[in-house]
Amino acid sequence: MRMHFLATLLVALPFAAVAQGSGELWEITMSMPGMPAGMMPAQRVCQGDDPARAAQQSRDKKDCKVTDRKQSGNRTTVSMTCSDGSTMVIDQQFNAARTEFKSTMSLKSKKDGDMTMTQTGRKVGACDAVATRKERDAHMDKINKDMAAMQAAGAAQQKEFADRQIKQCATAAQNMDWRGFGVYGQCRNNKTDANCKSSMDAYDKMSPEIAKSCNARVVEYCKRFQTQEGFLKARGDETIAQACGVTTASIKAAQCPKAAQTESLAFLGHYCLAEAKPIAQQHCVGRDYTSKMGGKYNEFCGAYLAQASLEKPPASATDQVKQGVSKGMDKLKGLFGR
């Protein structure tokens, strides 16, 4: 859109009313705040048309209207309002001989933001305004068509991206893959955070459907996370629990008695040491990590023994470990000559 304004400005200025056919050739240099000098090379424009009309015609195909025009000596000010709500004010000042001018163009647009451009121009000769205008109109048509094509391609790309993200969130919920939610998972409890917000805004700009769909999938995920099956698939991740507004402890407290009743071995082995203990005493005793047991209790025993190995052992067993460590240390100390 900004490129469109640049094109508008070039054809709209300078405001020099000249006879049809006999045009004035102007060399115009534009600059914008923050743009390095020389980035936009001087351009030659054959001006022989009414500038306000030219500007109005060129911008979004007669989409803007001149709302005010003031002329005082060599100074002209034109205000325009466009259908998208943006406004444009062009303020132009010629020298006495009307061979040079300076102008500013201020654009206010909710969609594109505010922008101010300055121009300087000098008359460098005469030209055929009619031929130039035809050429210019053809050029503008091409620019408009190119712009329309670019916008259509951009919109298609955004839609494709949005569709892909929506599908990805659906897959994330289906596979209990929290990472698949991207910012909608990670920022679930940080929505007011500036970076989370800007990230989500970026998606919203592409399509509000992404947020709507992904947030719904996250809710679906969190509901399933609180079931034994979902909790197991998510490997009892505490960060996810927090994002879902619960704790793993509360889920275990709710699910372990149910798991014990139904003998849900996988859940019991991983998360319910107390409830699993009687089953483990019956089926896991003497099992080594490298044992090939297989069967119904294989996963249960593996999970139970790993978790149980971190529990504080009975006093006598603790002493044995400590004694073992102490014995090793004594041996080393002995070797040091102590």
């Binding site: 993200q165 990670q186 970076n195 970026a202 960060t239 990590y289 190995s309 470990v321």
Partner: protein
């Protein structure tokens, strides 16, 4: 907390926003807890470079074969792994785990390294150390020099392969430093995750079929190494590394009677712990 991108990535116009989001959640330092003081003489667990839990991390304990990580590091940093090595009589003096190398046999330095890392073979380790040393003592000096350079202040090596020695010790924290150094080398990582490998003498006369001593490989989802160790003086030792969904957990256990179960429990809990 990291903010991941959607795996498919964003179009370029949204990239800057996501970079900003990712920068927001730099991981914060956490106080180190010791929730499992009874499991080992010393232990330390790190997730993505952040220490989660540690017990006696600076205690000086015997390293057992975890010392071979240093031997491997020196070999890899030196390079020239294609060099042929003619084994000396020293290989016969190696005790503990061996693959049965004989004096006069020729293997590449790389194959000796493989047997050292994968099978924790003391004869291969000794052959490698004597090749790199060039004497055993000279090699031990190199080990200690490298340890000092890594800031392993509670470490002193006295045997290239980790046999119990009176003046040899290390700490869980130092072994984490060493592990993180070897992890920078693709060759070590390639070897550490090999469940099985077959080696040949350079003349092709003998083949050695080796199985990795790390029981987690192939059994624990995401396990990728790194080294096992056991001696009477050191007890069961382990440096375990696992990766899931781009998250890496490193656990070092020294003198842990139930090292495999402990490692699985610690890795599980580290992956699940709040970020």
């Amino acid at each position: 907390m990291k903010i991941p991108k959607f795996p498919d990535g964003l179009p370029a116009f949204a990239g800057k926003t996501l970079v900003a989001v990712a920068c927001l959640f730099a991981s914060a330092a956490q106080a180190v807890e010791d929730p499992y003081p009874w499991i080992a003489g010393a232990y330390l667990v790190k997730r993505d470079g952040v220490v989660l839990w540690a017990g006696q991390p600076d205690a000086r304990l015997a390293p057992a074969s975890l010392a071979k990580m240093m031997t491997a590091l020196i070999a890899i940093e030196r390079g020239k792994l294609d060099e042929p090595v003619t084994l000396g009589r020293g290989v016969l003096q190696a005790t503990g785990t061996r693959i049965g190398l004989k004096p006069g046999e020729r293997l590449s330095a790389g194959d000796l390294l493989t047997a050292t890392v994968v099978r924790s073979a003391n004869d291969a380790c000794r052959g490698l150390a004597e090749h790199l040393g060039p004497s055993r003592n000279a090699f031990i000096a190199k080990m200690n020099e490298r340890a000092a350079a890594l800031g392993m202040v509670n470490t002193r090596f006295a045997d290239p392969c980790g046999h119990d020695r009176p003046d040899q010790y290390t700490s869980a924290a130092d072994l984490v430093r060493l592990a993180e150094e070897v992890m920078k080398h693709g060759e070590y990582m390639r070897l550490a995750r090999l469940e099985r490998v077959s080696l040949k003498t350079l003349d092709g006369g003998r083949t050695f079929a080796l199985r990795n001593t790390n029981a987690l490989l192939g059994r624990y989802d995401g396990a990728i190494g790194l080294k096992t160790g056991y001696t009477e003086g050191a007890g069961n030792c382990l440096v375990a590394l696992a990766e899931r969904d781009g998250v890496r957990v490193l656990a070092v256990l020294l003198n842990a009677p139930n090292r495999w179960w402990n490692a699985v429990g610690l890795l599980d809990r580290a992956f699940a712990a709040a970020r």
